[in-house]
Amino acid sequence: ACGDDSGDGNTGSGELQEVNVGYIADFNGASLVAVAQEQGLWAKHGLKPNLKVFTNGPLQVQALNAGDLDFGYLGPGALWLPASGQAKVIAVNSLGLADRVIAKPGITSIAALKGKTVGVPEGTSGDMILRLALAQGGLSIDDVKKVAMDASTVVTAFGSGQIDAAGIWYPLVGTIKKQVPDLVELAKNEDFPQTNFPTVFVARNEVAEGKKDLTSKVAGLIREANDFRAANLEQTIAATVKLTQGPEANFKAEAENVRFLTSTEIDAATADGSVNNWFKSLNELFVSFGKLQTATDPATYYLGDVYTSAK
């Protein structure tokens, strides 16, 4: 459905600039693209998109670096990639509130996790919230029996009682709840006001530096779509369902656990350094994971002024 819609607003105009855009087919990753499709924003911003769907961030960065993509979408777990110089962040998309540390009924505090088996998809926001939570509860990652597994494995393993706790997110937590209704949520994003889990759009380094005009056009489009979404969530969900053929219920659940900022709010957060602080605190986490050698200065890869100046 996406491929043929992309030409809609493009009647007779040779002026449109081609752009290769990657996204992930969940609500966070696809909603802005869906809005742009639905509202004809591409043509309006002088763009002709080539949309490519991926299942994770690192693959998109590889495609970016291989020159097959110009722009892509990353979740918080992949933000170390731009931090290590592999791409530039051009826009903040949303702030994730979906992450949880969950435990079997009976385990009521972080401290009680000591020595327990904890499943976590490594390197994801689930991993990050687990570490934050453990630190807050006075434990380190070595105090629990951490078992790395991918997200759907966490669902199965928790559901069948193979693990005692997990760092995972909604809507998967919802899925697990169907099997373990009385599971305990030990920690959630709001417990850590200093650390935000933003999702972002990134650009290939060469594009960000060499095609300022294009970058600016895309940033402008993102702004407009962003504000549309903030104002019309229902319509956005419908558009996303149409784009991805995905299940509406899951998108709804996902949307409930995200904070969508307006572009004005993002402008402000950029101006007062909050955005850079979000990234900085994540970078510290990445360093503790061993993903980054040093906590890079976000100013080197977050192109805040591109976003704020794009209208």
Binding site: C2, G22, I24, F54, A66, A151, S152, P171, T175, P247
Partner: protein, 244 residues
């Protein structure tokens, strides 16, 4: 035979339904899966996905198998070729397709080519060992018979080695076909817009098990059909064999 197959499938469905009802964690029952399957068919998604995946698997499988025949021959026939090629075949066979993907993206981009390439590679690597063994196992007296009738290497290969090793080649193709399908999911990690494997990954994002099962069954059934076709071809090609 067909009756037995039907029995087997019925038993399988029974076990599945039993497991699902017995409340094995998260396992959707046949009914839930059938309902989801119907939805996907109605919306046309399944058809489009299937068409996209089938195309990739078919092309990849055919390329891989066809390539395996001459390469397996070279390896079986010429010691030099074997020494040069074999280490690579063995090496790449042990490497999971997932690990090939980054390289495929770097070298081939994110279009159809790298997807088909990954599948081709999987089919090729399974087939080539079998073809090679087939070439090595051909009865020497048949080769001699061809040579005394005036056949040079090329003819001997085409008209004696290939038919004589056709049971091996077909084993290779059947295993290769399985590998091709099993690699589909990995291949469709590479920026696929549609495809059964892609749909399954998407479903995995939300742990949408019914959709995953629809995907598995689709792949399984398509694989089975293609395998039957291969078997029919095999029957035709190896009718000359004296076998039980």
């Amino acid at each position: 035979m067909l009756a037995l197959n039907v029995v087997a499938v019925a038993v399988g469905l029974g076990v599945w339904a039993g497991l699902a009802r017995a409340g094995v964690e998260g396992l959707p029952g046949p009914v839930a899966v059938a309902r989801r399957g119907w939805e996907l068919i109605e919306s046309g998604t399944l058809l489009k996905d299937t068409a996209a995946s089938l195309r990739r698997v078919l092309i990849g499988f055919l390329l891989g198998s066809l390539l395996a025949i001459p390469v397996g021959f070279l390896m079986g026939w010429y010691v030099t070729a074997r020494g040069l090629i074999e280490p690579y075949v063995q090496f790449f066979r042990t490497i999971p397709p997932l690990a090939i993907i980054p390289l495929a993206i770097v070298l081939l981009g994110i279009g159809e080519t790298p997807k088909i390439f990954v599948i081709t590679l999987a089919a090729f690597l399974s087939s080539v060992i079998s073809t090679f063994q087939g070439v090595v196992s051909v009865d020497k007296t048949l080769i001699n018979a061809a040579r005394v009738l005036g056949a040079r290497d090329g003819v001997t290969f085409r008209r004696v080695v290939v038919p004589a090793s056709s049971p091996f080649i077909l084993v290779g193709m059947r295993i290769g076909l399985g590998s091709a399908w099993a690699t589909l999911v990995a291949a469709e990690l590479i920026a696929a817009q549609q495809g059964v494997g892609y749909r399954m990954q998407q479903a995995q994002l939300y742990y949408d098990l019914p959709t995953i099962f629809v995907g598995l069954i689709t792949i399984g059934v398509l694989g089975l059909i293609m395998d039957r076709i291969l078997l029919l071809i095999e029957r035709r090609l190896t009718r000359w064999q004296e076998r039980r």
